[in-house]
Subunit: 455 residues, 2 copies
């Protein structure tokens, strides 16, 4: 057994002596915080507000002993003493009195190395870092199980919304077949604004950047990568499989135009960046892509920076979880919830209480996907007989059209929108292929699935 | 220390020897099931489906050893051996090999006595019994803490929806200020049908009874008591206070007419039986009452037998949880989720891992309530000057009208609907009093609050 576990054993003996409200004494648990940006400052603030409550619940008093920052002199949203601030990570990782590390730096390095060092030193780790868990979760969880410490990351997906713990604990009586939702606030804000104002993607993105809702380099959000990382994390837990980021087929929202938003509304729908994963008899399919959601579907009403996730279990049926997907205090709500879990486990000497059950690497099918209705916006040559030719191509592929809109014509070209009946992904791909080979006839501008109506 | 706790200690020693997947051996844990109706049969069915998964997660194999039924000869939805069935509760309560008892009988007695006996015998208890927990929860939880056993009741509220555990664990970093939602499926089904068809309450109730969605004696549902019991349970946990059923002000849906449903739609709303509780600086207000919900509010789209609960925390902001509130397998999903928690606690020797933190009996204000818009439907005398008199009464009470509808006149009487601007509860009560004293002028037929728009 390594030093970390031995340290935990010593800690247990000390705890047995002092634990319990009845004695009126509470053992302090020192916490090291890595990073003090938006999330870190929220954690400091909320930990202060709830210190007494946490002590009442766990018998342990959490104290933020040290905070790692790049510049100890920089003004911050929360007041910290000079003694608390450090720019040397070893003052946290190397301090045996610090039992719990909260990581809010974000990104892969140095977060990954610091977390692995903390785990090896026998410290429990709480992180809000979705990028790290999506890419290196397996390595980190294996290290934690080896060292018998907790690594919790409720805040990595869905901000304040309890998602990880319900999937890992409350819903484990189910075989979960589907998870589906809106898990990126930036794209949801942009699409909500485009829907409300009719403005184009680039104008709304610029405004979102000015307001701080989108990063200067927005690609992680608008290209769907952030949602794909979160879907990787959720799918791994829901389906008990080691899902990789590369397993997710990703389409971002850059190609969604004001025209699409307009047609979507005409069709009684709104466009959302939908993350969806399914398990069909042990075969997984994972998508992130703009999708038309019917107005009577609850996901259609999830606007701005809110997140929502549908979960379908074989026993539970459909469930939905909804709330703020980001922000300083909402994220801190999830982080501190994890702190309370860690302290409870520490006080009861059950580190690593809930292990992640991974059955296997389930196979991933990149071509599959449920049969779905599809929205296609095309620019077509505006001459007699063209529409008949297009209709013929659909007919030959045995794809029937549910709705056809032809709204605007200029300079010899018309814009045609087709919504198909439900069609298997392969047959849709065949049509897109055929039309792609006839550029004089028609050009596919946008293709998006249309979600089924309300539950 | 009593016999129950001693029994638990012995059990721990045995577990330490045999636990762990690594050794390839799994200790069986015998479970006794009280009742085998709709929920009980779902529990048997789902336990069978998930036995291997549960063993993989907890290192313990759950076995339903014995099932208490009234008539062992009656045909059932699930196949049970003659040896499993018994009509003698002592064959479960008195069997030292049965470690866990699942109660699905419902109602107060004999469920209460059997659960207390099981607890005293050192058995862990899982129940779906909202009536019992609402009325005798404090007694049962105190007994469980004394005997150091788990009593879990996720299935008591919201069927498959994880509500109890998120409130007790994930969200405890928050001071929760509001919980609000639709937590009775029968009334939601009836109101949804009234909205969809325009039919009257009594006709829809009859149909719901024929379809099995409403009981032969529907009063517990339609008079709001079932929702009030669930609100009592949720509020106790959310607000860390010992809330009593009598603390909830309850109005059922019997007085909601097809006319109200019609006017609600004219006003861009739908009528729902809303359960709502708030904590304002340590003072609680709890209501169950029919409420007009604006169409753009997510709760307006929760139809038929679905349940949804909003939770507002000071850090998390608004959260919503949605899903099936009843039914055999959805309820079993929550029960088996609790079984997994109990088995995990057993295998790690941490019975009673999460204690319910009750600060105090917080005071309850029966007169308060946030200022709200109110819908009033009145029958008024159809003669000149009447409306002026009514408007004068509103004006004198400083209650301004937002909307006035006068839709139908017959036999010298007119129907007038008023929606007020936001008004404190006391001022509204004053108007209702004044109008109540002028029966020749106007009679108040219905009065319901109007919920604010979407989050």
């Amino acid at each position: 057994m390594d030093d970390g576990a031995a340290g935990t054993r010593d800690g247990r003996a000390a705890l047995r002596e002092s634990h319990g409200e009845d004695e009126g004494t509470h053992m302090d648990v020192n916490i090291g915080l890595l990073g003090c940006g938006t999330v870190g400052a929220g954690v400091v603030e909320l930990m202060r507000r709830r210190a007494d409550k946490i002590t009442g619940m766990t018998g342990l008093r959490p104290t933020i002993a040290r905070v790692l920052v790049r510049d100890v002199g920089k003004p911050r949203a929360v007041v910290l003493s000079a003694g608390q601030l450090t720019n040397d990570p070893q003052e946290i990782i190397g301090d045996p009195d610090i039992r719990v590390v909260i990581e809010t730096i974000g990104g892969i390095e140095p977060a990954r190395s610091l977390i692995l060092q903390a785990i090896r030193a026998g410290k429990h780790v709480i992180t809000a870092n979705k990028d790290l868990i999506a890419l290196h979760g397996a390595e980190i969880i294996a290290a934690a199980e080896g060292a018998r410490v907790d690594v919790l990351y409720e805040a990595a997906v869905g901000g304040a919304i309890p998602l990880i713990r319900p999937l890992r604990e409350s819903l484990t009586a189910n075989d979960i077949t589907d998870i589906k939702g809106i898990i990126n606030g930036t794209t949801n804000y942009i699409l909500s604004k485009m829907t409300a104002t009719g403005a184009d993607f680039s104008a709304v993105l610029r405004e979102a950047q000015e307001l701080g809702y989108a990063e200067a380099d927005p690609s992680s959000d608008v290209d769907g990568l952030d949602a794909a990382r979160k879907l990787t994390i959720l799918s791994s837990i829901a389906f008990h499989s080691a899902v990789n980021l590369a397993d997710v087929q990703v389409t971002g929202i850059r190609a969604v135009t004001a025209r699409d938003v307009y047609y979507a509304r005409e069709l009684g729908t709104v466009i959302k960046l939908l993350a969806a994963a399914s398990d069909r008899d042990g075969e997984l399919t994972l998508h992130v892509r703009p999708t038309l959601i019917p107005q009577d579907h609850p996901l259609a009403h999830v606007s701005d920076a809110y997140n929502a996730l549908y979960v379908r279990g074989d026993a539970s049926g459909d469930l939905m979880f909804f709330g703020r997907g980001a922000g300083s205090l909402p994220t801190a709500s999830a982080v501190i919830g994890d702190v309370i879990e860690v302290l409870r486990n520490v006080s009861q000497s059950v580190p690593g209480r809930v292990r992640t059950l991974v059955h296997s690497h389930k196979p991933v099918n990149h071509n599959a996907g449920e049969p779905a209705r599809h929205y296609l916006r095309m620019t077509v040559a505006d001459r007699p007989g063209v529409f008949g030719q297009i209709a013929g191509i659909f007919g030959d592929a045995e794809v029937s059209m549910e709705t056809v809109l032809q709204k605007r014509v200029d300079e010899g070209r018309a814009e045609v929108v087709v919504v198909t009946h439900e069609v298997p992904a392969a047959r849709l791909a065949a049509i897109l292929d055929t039309l792609g080979g006839l550029p004089d006839l028609a050009r596919i501008e946008t293709s998006m699935p249309v979600e089924r109506g309300a539950y």
